[in-house]
């Protein structure tokens, strides 16, 4: 706490104010929750609705709001007004930046070692694969949202296209995973361009809602086109991936037999782990390279100001389309991986919740920061795992976290937007000048 006690008391409103505010919050909460929580309805066995009261729960919720309101107000006073500049000692700052530089390599090395360290713990390996899938999706969406600044709420559509491409090609034509992987990416990119064309002229919120509608259309078509996709039952019996043709099975031609080691199902899990790690790193590498190319610069320019972009002669049409296509392609890769890992896919895996989750990862990670997205995916999926027993509270907490995050850290956890190119020297520009949303 940097402020002196005297300044503290002069700024702090009295206890009466806090109490009054908490009382009002509690009253509002009482009205809000009175019927929704105080009364529980349920259809009985005869289809007749019955209800019973839960005044205990209601009282607990109102009390929680009252207490929470006081706590928030006290925290706010302790933290000081928004925008207070906190001076961090230079030594701490340098240590922090040194640690910050170390995070990425340490994390990468650790990820490489996960299958070695946790070889016997199937649960951790599965969780690792899941986290890496979302890291890859996050990095893919990051191209569209973080770099090009196009809010895409239908990213899961490309994930679905990739997954169904692989599933249908593999089950109907017997194509191998390694042939289908690029095909899935190309098909998803094609759909990305298809979506990109109509929405070229749209901006911000309109774009968001159209991409959302697009995602829903794809899902509804998958559900209803039963002859092709199997409808709600999904596609089963999707072939497992092979190590460039060598299957990971206990048979004579399997990898274990060829290497002369004892077969174990863990081999496949470890293989999948490294496969998704490689795919994710590919996404990361391509993104980093693209950022240094003219197209990457154009994406970032487009994000900051579309009108200025056009004035400078950047072709916004191709710029947007490539962003959509690139993002969609990585989504397609991730989808193909998802299909081969699960062995079974159904439309249920491709709901709007998935899109929102990936978007939340990108936003939480600070839109544009590769490391941030990876950490956010780890935090989100890991956090979801903590709530595994409380399935129905998961999305509730997720939604609350999204709102709170937007209020406290709208730029994400690692929210810096350092320009990737400088004129001679790196100059500090006031954040007032680069604040977006004024174009």
């Amino acid at each position: 706490m940097s402020a002196s006690p005297a300044a503290q008391t002069s700024r702090a409103p009295g206890a009466a104010f806090i109490f009054k505010k908490a009382l009002i919050s509690a009253l509002v909460a009482l009205v809000l929750f009175s019927l929704m929580i105080g009364v529980r309805t349920e259809a009985g066995s005869d289809g007749q609705l019955t209800y019973w009261t839960r005044f205990g729960d209601l009282a607990a919720m109102v009390a929680a709001v009252f207490g929470g309101s006081i706590l928030v107000e006290l925290l706010r006073q302790w933290w000081g007004p928004v925008g207070t500049v906190r001076v961090v000692p230079a030594s701490v700052q340098s240590t922090l930046s040194f640690a910050g530089r170390l995070v990425a390599p340490v994390l990468l090395v650790f990820t490489f070692l996960v299958p070695v360290l946790f070889y016997d713990e199937r649960y951790i390996l599965d969780l690792g694969i899941l986290v890496l899938t979302y890291v890859m999706l996050g990095w893919g969406l990051n191209v569209v949202v973080g770099l090009a600044g196009l809010l895409d709420l239908g990213y899961v559509a490309f994930y679905a296209v990739g997954a169904y491409s692989y599933a249908l090609l593999a089950t109907n034509f017997g194509l191998s995973f390694w042939v289908c992987l690029p095909l899935a990416g190309i098909l998803a990119a094609f759909w990305g361009v298809l979506l990109g064309f109509p929405v070229l002229r749209l901006r911000g919120d309109y774009l968001a809602i159209v991409t959302l509608a697009f995602g829903e259309i794809i899902r509804l078509v998958i559900i209803n086109w039963q002859s092709l996709t199997g409808g709600p039952n999904g596609v089963t019996g999707i072939p497992r991936p092979t190590l460039f043709g060598i299957p990971l099975t206990p048979g004579d031609d399997g990898l274990a037999a060829m290497l002369g080691i004892e077969f174990s199902t863990t081999h496949r899990i470890v293989f999948l782990f490294y496969l998704i790690l490689a795919l994710a790193l590919l996404t990361n590498w391509v993104t980093i390279r693209l950022r240094r190319l003219p197209i990457g610069r154009a994406w970032e320019a487009l994000r900051e100001d579309e009108v200025a972009c056009r004035a400078l002669g950047i072709n916004t049409t191709t710029t947007k389309l490539t962003a959509f296509a690139t993002g969609a392609m990585f989504g397609g890769f991730a989808g193909a991986f998802f299909a081969t890992r699960q062995g079974f896919i159904s439309p249920e895996s491709f709901t709007f919740h998935e899109s929102a989750l990936v978007l939340a990862i990108v936003v939480l990670g600070g839109m544009g920061s590769q490391l941030g997205v990876a950490l956010a995916a780890l935090a989100m999926i890991g956090g979801f795992e903590l709530f595994r027993g409380l399935e129905q509270y998961r999305m509730l907490v997720f939604g609350m976290a999204m709102v709170l995050l937007m209020i406290w850290r709208p730029r994400g956890l690692i929210g810096h937007r350092a320009p990737t190119v400088f004129l001679k020297t790196n100059q500090a520009i006031s954040s007032d000048l680069v604040k977006e949303g004024h174009g």
Partner: protein
């Protein structure tokens, strides 16, 4: 022909419900310039509150249907309006001057909160109610035995919508609040300089939008006889489509768009396929935005540097 007439009636009734929700979207978009993503869920909450109030009233032994409906309407509007106010207060007001995507993302978060809140509080199963208003009129009976019917509930939905629209139009065009709202829509800074309480006006916009959504929720409950926690999502997107189709920011446009979407959806289900009715509605959204980005009655947006 008779079949078509029946579908026309059904479509107009459904369209009235969409129109009521669409007004909430279009008002908020006009003033704050954001898509209130949680508005569909506010509609769902309105339906739930109407259901619970109805159950309680019936169990208390009230039998006069008109009285029950009136109380249900008022309670549902009042509590849902408070939900609208709270959502704005918690999730949107702190972000008024934040960067462009922040309110949108916060709204998505709020939508999740509301959906899952009602799932946790009221369970995931569909809540059916027995038909409350029965009966109707036979308009025309063809030789083949096909009957064109106008049920009482349909009449109630349409009349309620018309009355509310008249009230609402009066509110926007002839009251102090309406004038403040129009002023804020044009220029918030200037409005505040001229003594308009911008915060309060925006709050009231959310309150009114939520109250209209509550009426829509109640009408949905009466018309379809069920509510569930997930109904806000699809209804919300369709109502938004209606708002865009009519020209976002335009109030008559929202109603017109709602009616059109209702008609298109009903006729599509009647003549093509029920499975693809949502696809049809969403495709219209995309087509409209490509060819008519300002909607039917909207003003073109001037791009400022």
């Amino acid at each position: 022909m008779d079949y078509f007439a029946q579908q026309l009636i059904n479509g107009l009734v459904l369209g009235s419900i969409y129109g009521l929700i669409a007004i909430g979207y279009t008002m908020v978009y006009g003033i704050v310039g954001m898509i209130n993503f949680a508005h569909g869920d506010i509609f769902m909450i309105g339906g739930f509150i109407a259901l619970i109030t109805f159950l309680i009233l019936v169990s208390f032994g009230l039998t006069a249907i008109p009285l029950i409906l009136l109380i249900v309407l008022l309670v549902s509007m009042a509590i849902t309006a408070l939900y609208g106010w709270t959502v704005e207060r918690i999730a949107y007001r702190p972000l008024r001057h934040s960067f462009r995507l922040a309110p949108m993302l916060s709204a998505i978060g709020m939508s999740f909160v509301l959906t899952n809140y009602s799932q946790v509080a009221q369970g995931a199963r569909v809540k059916p109610v027995p038909p409350i208003i029965t009966g109707g009129y036979t308009l025309h009976e063809s030789a083949g035995g096909f009957v064109v019917q106008l049920s009482n509930i349909q009449i109630i939905v349409v009349i309620t919508t018309i009355v509310l629209l008249a009230l609402f139009t009066w509110l926007v065009s002839s009251t102090r609040l309406g004038r403040d709202m129009r002023a804020c829509e044009q220029d918030q800074t200037m409005a505040s300089l001229l003594g308009v309480d911008v915060d309060r006006t925006i709050s009231m916009t959310f309150v009114i939008g939520a109250a209209l959504a509550a009426v829509a929720g109640m009408m949905y409950l009466l018309y379809y006889g069920l509510v569930d926690f997930f109904m806000g999502f699809v209804a919300g997107i369709k109502a938004f489509t209606a708002a865009v189709l009519g020209g976002i920011g335009s109030l008559p446009g929202a109603m017109l768009g709602g009616l059109l979407i209702g008609l298109i959806e009903t006729l599509w289900s009647a003549y093509f396929s029920v499975e693809y009715k949502d696809v049809a509605a969403f495709s219209i959204l995309i087509v409209v935005l490509i060819f008519l980005p300002t909607g039917l009655l909207g003003r073109p947006e001037v791009e400022k540097v």
